[in-house]
């Protein structure tokens, strides 16, 4: 497969990269690991005039865990997220999602920023990031803005990133005590596959053995973009975490989802809805177990 022709830029700093994006706007595409973009370019779905490679810019690979907020550079690789002891301990659902993405070979190239910017409804990293209430930093020549993950995906492979902006950082707050999260993805193969349904659940208790004070359930593959399950979340608040309430929430999540079951979606709408119910139940149980372990 031949790639289309393009002009290649490899800026040494983020500022230089923003300058190039300011100049070329929609004519330029950012490339980091390339595991999604290269495939699309080979299929002639994307043919940018200018390609801006940011994968080796040091400041975009940072891992700053010094404060109560984890700040990951957008070019931090998925393999490094999977291998991080700290992320495995404090943000276990993100670690699990990183381990589920692609294959070991893909994970060595793929970046967290790329998995967000490519905005695929089946992507692995968005559910746990949304479940943890993460934010992204979008940088341009004249400044930067912070966008919540809840507002980042606009549907139809579109994101909040403007043509002159670069996703530079992902910020994740430290989870409160007595909270837990879990991520499960369902696919036909254990690697190199596109998810059929993937769910991340987060619950926080108001004390050891207490009631649920906050809950976030994020569903992938069952709508135009990753989506929350608002009615499922609502009925969990204030309740004691029991198998029965999790089953009720799972039913509600099923009703919140809207899979269309068209030819390319890899499974029928009915099956996807049923799996939303199963995976929501399982992730809530696992999230609760994690919350109890603290």
């Amino acid at each position: 497969m031949l790639l289309p022709k393009f002009n290649f830029h490899e800026p040494a700093t983020l500022a230089e990269a923003c300058q190039i994006m300011a100049e070329y706007g929609t004519k330029a595409k950012v490339i980091a690991g390339g595991t999604d973009l290269m495939v699309n370019m080979k299929r002639k779905l994307v043919s940018p005039e200018q390609l801006v490679s940011i994968g080796r810019i040091e400041e975009l690979k940072k891992f700053d865990s010094t404060s109560n907020v984890l700040r990951l550079g957008s070019c931090f690789t998925v393999a490094d997220i999977e291998a991080s002891e700290l992320i495995g301990k404090k943000w276990s659902a993100l670690c699990a999602a990183a381990g589920a993405l692609g294959s070991p070979l893909i994970r060595n190239l793929a970046t967290i920023g790329g998995n967000l910017a490519s905005a695929r409804p089946a992507a692995d990293l968005p559910p746990p990031l949304m479940a943890y209430g993460a934010r992204v930093v979008l940088k341009k020549k004249s400044g930067e803005r912070v966008v919540s993950m809840d507002n980042f995906f606009l549907g139809g492979a579109l994101t909040e990133i403007a043509p002159n902006e670069i996703l530079s950082e992902i910020q994740i707050d430290a989870p409160p005590p007595y909270s837990g999260a879990s991520y499960i993805n369902l696919s036909s193969r254990s690697a190199c596959d596109c998810n059929l349904v993937n769910i991340a659940s987060f619950i926080a208790l108001d004390g050891p053995g207490g009631t649920i004070k906050s809950a976030r359930i994020v569903m992938g593959c069952v709508g135009p973009t990753h989506m929350r399950a608002p009615s499922a979340e609502k009925l969990l608040i204030g309740e004691k975490p029991t198998e029965a309430i999790f089953a009720k929430a799972a039913e509600a999540a099923m009703k919140d989802s809207s899979p269309r079951g068209f030819a390319e979606s890899r499974a029928s709408a009915e099956y996807k809805k049923d799996m939303v119910r199963v995976l929501t139940n399982r992730t809530l149980s696992t999230a609760y177990k994690e919350a109890m372990m603290q």
């Binding site: 393009f6 490339i31 595991t35 290269m38 994968g55 070979l105 190239l109 690697a191 190199c192």
Partner: protein
């Protein structure tokens, strides 16, 4: 417009003029005649293009040659030494892990990468390490057995 890139491949220095839209696998195979690295799917799904880049196994079909500038690369050709085949290569040939041989360079490099970090992996860890490499011939069992035999 071509640009000149420098790579250290199998401990040798290379200087190559490449187009921006050439992939690393194409430069390795067509410009440098290192045809041990294979082309299968071109989309990062089969792993036959596996090379080790800066210590990590990657799909060279997804890496632009210009992105490989300044990097250290090991291809399958780099595993053999004056003493003979690399232990993983030897195990593959002895344990029936090679039939048509097309997946073998990628499988061997992925396995070698695993053993470099984890000299005594479990069967599950071995299978996970080669999960990015597809084999149509062997059914994977003898490949797993070959890697296990290197750890004993």
């Amino acid at each position: 417009m071509k640009s000149v890139i420098h790579m250290t491949i199998n401990d040798k220095e290379y200087e190559v003029a490449v187009q921006p839209n050439q992939t690393l696998v194409d430069v390795l195979r067509y410009e440098l005649r290192l045809t041990g690295t294979k082309k299968g799917c071109g989309t990062g799904d089969c792993g036959s293009c596996t090379v080790i880049m800066d210590g990590k196994p990657v799909n060279s079909c997804l890496v632009l040659a210009v992105q490989a500038n300044g990097r250290k690369i090991t291809t399958i050709e780099g595993l053999e030494s004056e003493e003979g085949l690399h232990p993983v290569q030897k195990a593959f040939t002895e344990k029936g892990a090679i039939q048509c041989g097309f997946c073998s360079p990628g499988m061997i490099l992925s396995s070698k990468s695993l053993l470099d970090k984890n000299p005594k992996p479990t069967e599950e860890e071995i299978r996970r390490a080669i999960s990015g490499n597809l084999c149509r011939c062997t059914g994977y069992q003898k490949i797993v057995d070959a890697v296990k035999s290197v750890t004993e």
